[in-house]
Symmetry: C2
Subunit: 218 residues, 2 copies
């Protein structure tokens, strides 16, 4: 998360990142199972103390005493508590801006069939793409964005899959239209107003990191 | 980076993550320019002390006195030093495993036209895809992987773009064939031997994080 300026609270981005990993870890378990912080730590390569500390930030979401002595946390309670913390217990509306190969790949992601994120629109600025269908959605002209936001459901997150040269301009259009949250795939740091949050997925940077670590492996 | 067990040294993954961001920051500048740690800190939302500390881990890559008092670092020297640290001053070979929409999108990424990463093969297990062309590369059967690794250039990184259900099996095949470094797009934690490094790009987890932060914005 590269911009968390205007926050109401002081939770570290790393805590929220780990919460998403706890969900992934719990997904493979039965809801009725119990898991201790030690078992989770072992699975995740973290310490049990770290996990307990992370969860203690949100004790009111779980209810006191949600950990059972000698058994640990019930998977169902832990999972649904983290879902509430992240706001993914309800449906959040997404638009994809950039109807290229990456936009198309994301639109067909099986994860989007889950209830918590729902793609309600896909936009592009290329006239020849506008009006075509992509995974059942009609590609809209980016010029329709204001009208779309006024007349359709709330947009919670916009995913930017446009080329690098277009990313800042599209981000400007989105934030001017009132979108408060962007997931940017373009390999640059986009500038946004203080009350807008941006996350980046930078493939090339991930490859650079991996490239460093592979040289360090024995 | 979720597995950095067998390392020769003790640099934090966060340091390496920031180095990739420093490169992005420097990309937009002229090589002859100078930038101080204060100016970089301002651009990146970090502290100057953090940047100086990160760079001081690698002082031998830059040469002592590479910062000029009153001017800062020369962009060219800083950039090429970080490239050497990350091993991206030379060409690294990549294969993509999974010739679906995401694999296709990555293959057409303009960033891959840079010299530091070169896609030398794309693999799939679906018979009807094998032999087709994708961005100029012939899709190979995953069963050819061993032969490919024995007869072709070294593979530095394999990018996994297969569905979740196939990811662990493909990772097993890759590591058995000697691949030491995986970038996994499937939404699960894959298990690998201790001497293999894995990085994950988890779209859904990023959306969950964003979803948390957007609620906290004023």
């Amino acid at each position: 998360m590269n911009q968390v300026n205007s926050m109401k609270e002081k939770i570290s981005p790393r805590v929220i990142e780990r919460l998403t990993k706890y969900l992934r870890c719990l997904e493979s378990m039965s809801p009725d199972d119990y898991i201790s912080s030690e078992e989770m730590a072992e699975k995740m390569g973290l310490t049990a103390a770290q996990i307990r500390k992370d969860l203690s930030n949100f004790i009111s979401e779980f209810g006191e005493g949600f950990g059972v002595r000698g058994k640990g946390y019930q998977v169902r309670i832990l999972y649904s508590g983290i879902e509430r913390i992240l706001g993914v217990h309800k449906t959040n509306n997404i638009i994809i801006v950039g109807a290229g190969r990456l936009g198309s790949a994301l639109l067909s992601e099986p994860e989007f069939t889950k209830e918590s994120f729902n793609v309600i629109g896909i936009f592009d600025s290329a006239e020849h793409k506008v009006g075509r269908e992509m995974s059942g959605l009609k590609i809209r002209n980016i010029t329709e964005l204001d009208y779309f936001l006024e007349t359709k459901d709330r947009v919670d997150i916009a995913i930017l899959t446009v080329p690098k040269v277009a990313a800042q301009e599209m981000a400007d259009k989105l934030t001017a239209a009132g979108v408060k949250s962007l997931l940017n795939f373009a390999p640059l740091k986009i500038k946004v107003p203080e009350n807008v949050v941006v996350a980046n997925i930078d493939l090339y940077a991930k490859l650079q990191e991996l490239n460093y670590w592979k040289e360090k492996m024995v």
